[in-house]
């Protein structure tokens, strides 16, 4: 399942997408410790699978939470994406 967390407002679209099919076999849950802002948590979803999600408190402010990882120039790889070796995480902006 592709789970999109974030929002759309007058300034643009800010979504973090997690392809949770990768989470069910993920050996390390690296997203949880890899994000310096602690945006990810592991939960048991509605289908009883153990998956990652963006925590509820962060969903309406992802643009601001992620700002430090996304400088305008010379953007380094995002820590969350680097930590998620199965490649489940993408960002829309």
């Amino acid at each position: 399942m592709k789970a999109n967390y974030g929002y759309l407002d007058g300034s643009g679209q800010y979504f973090i997408t997690i392809d949770t099919d990768h989470c069910t076999t993920c050996p390390h849950h690296g997203c949880v410790t890899g994000c310096p802002k602690g945006l990810f948590e592991i939960i048991v979803d509605d289908y009883d699978d153990c998956v990652s999600q963006v925590n509820e408190a962060a969903r309406k402010k992802v643009k601001y939470e992620c700002a430090a990882c996304k400088p305008m120039a010379n953007r380094p790889p995002l820590p969350c994406m680097a930590a998620c070796t199965p490649g489940a995480i993408t960002h829309s902006w």
Binding site: N4, Y7, L8, K60
Partner: protein
């Protein structure tokens, strides 16, 4: 008392042709931010439902919805073998055996209401909007939810009905009684759209034209959201706004896709999905 134009009709219904005695009865309760619904299934068949306004606390709202669904059926709460709570108040349904997100419940409920061909469900709820892709058994494959602002939601429409002093159920029809389709109001935020609409009325725009411009803006807003995950056919709309043809037909026009027609009230999709999950969980013995 001044007329409350936003106030929609609360109701309940049950199928007199179904005899619930001795059958496996399961229930779902969807406690949304604006409305609450309860659904009862008898051996997996839709038996009863209610739709009420959510009050100031979730436990009472869930109880009111369930009591009303049970009314006239001869059943008591104890007769319902498994109950799933969903919606934003799902963890505060005191009599629920389990809580499941509204995303999963809308997909499951939409699958029941519209059939296994439905692949994209747009749920236009009281204070949020969800775009959901699901498979032939109603399992979610992709979703996104926008609950940051009330634009494109039932609450936004209620605010607008009050502003224009038009009963909410009439907004859809009135939005088509215009000589030509006006451009959408430019603001997507309910607060700004409200002041923009007031400005248009002062400028002399007829009410229906302002309504059309607002429905147009709402439709455009949710289409932008839907485009993020894409629209796979068949397409259906659930939630209270699913009953507003002024918004539904404008969404269809902008997408170039016709939404499936619901066999039941699209506002009960979440509670219906919860009741279907309850049935599956009862059978699994969970």
């Amino acid at each position: 008392m001044a007329q409350e134009f936003w106030r929609w009709k609360e109701y309940n219904w049950h199928d007199e042709n179904i005899q619930p005695n001795g059958a496996a009865i399961t229930g779902g309760v969807d406690v949304g931010s604006v409305s609450s619904q309860a659904v009862l299934l008898v051996n997996g068949q839709l038996y009863a439902y209610s739709s009420t306004r959510t009050g100031s606390d979730s436990p009472n709202s869930s109880k009111k919805a369930m009591d009303w669904a049970l009314e006239g059926t001869g059943l008591k709460l104890e007769d319902v073998k498994f109950i799933v709570g969903t919606g934003y108040g799902r963890v505060n349904v005191p009599f629920a055996n389990r809580a499941i997100t509204e995303i999963a419940c809308h997909a499951r409920g939409g699958n029941f209401m519209y059939g296994p061909t439905v692949r994209t469900i747009l749920d236009m709820g009281g204070q949020d909007c969800k775009a959901i892709h699901c498979d032939p058994v109603g399992k979610v494959t992709n979703f996104l939810m926008n609950d940051k602002c009330a634009a494109g939601t039932g609450r936004g429409m209620e605010v607008f009905a009050d502003l224009l002093s038009v009963p909410i159920e009439e907004i859809g029809e009135l939005s088509f009684q215009v000589e030509e389709e006006p451009p959408p109001v430019s603001s997507t935020c309910v607060v700004f759209a409200k002041s923009e609409a007031s400005g248009l009325l002062r400028k002399g725009w007829p009410k229906n034209k302002v309504i059309a411009a607002y429905c147009n803006a709402m439709a455009h807003r949710v289409v932008t959201l839907l485009e993020r995950i894409g629209v796979e056919k068949d397409f259906a709309i659930t939630g209270g706004i699913g009953k507003n043809i002024g918004v539904v037909q404008r969404i269809e026009r902008e997408l170039g896709v016709t939404a499936l027609k619901a066999k039941y009230d699209p506002q009960i999709a979440g509670a219906l999905g919860a009741a279907l999950f309850a049935k599956a969980l009862l059978e699994k013995g969970k």
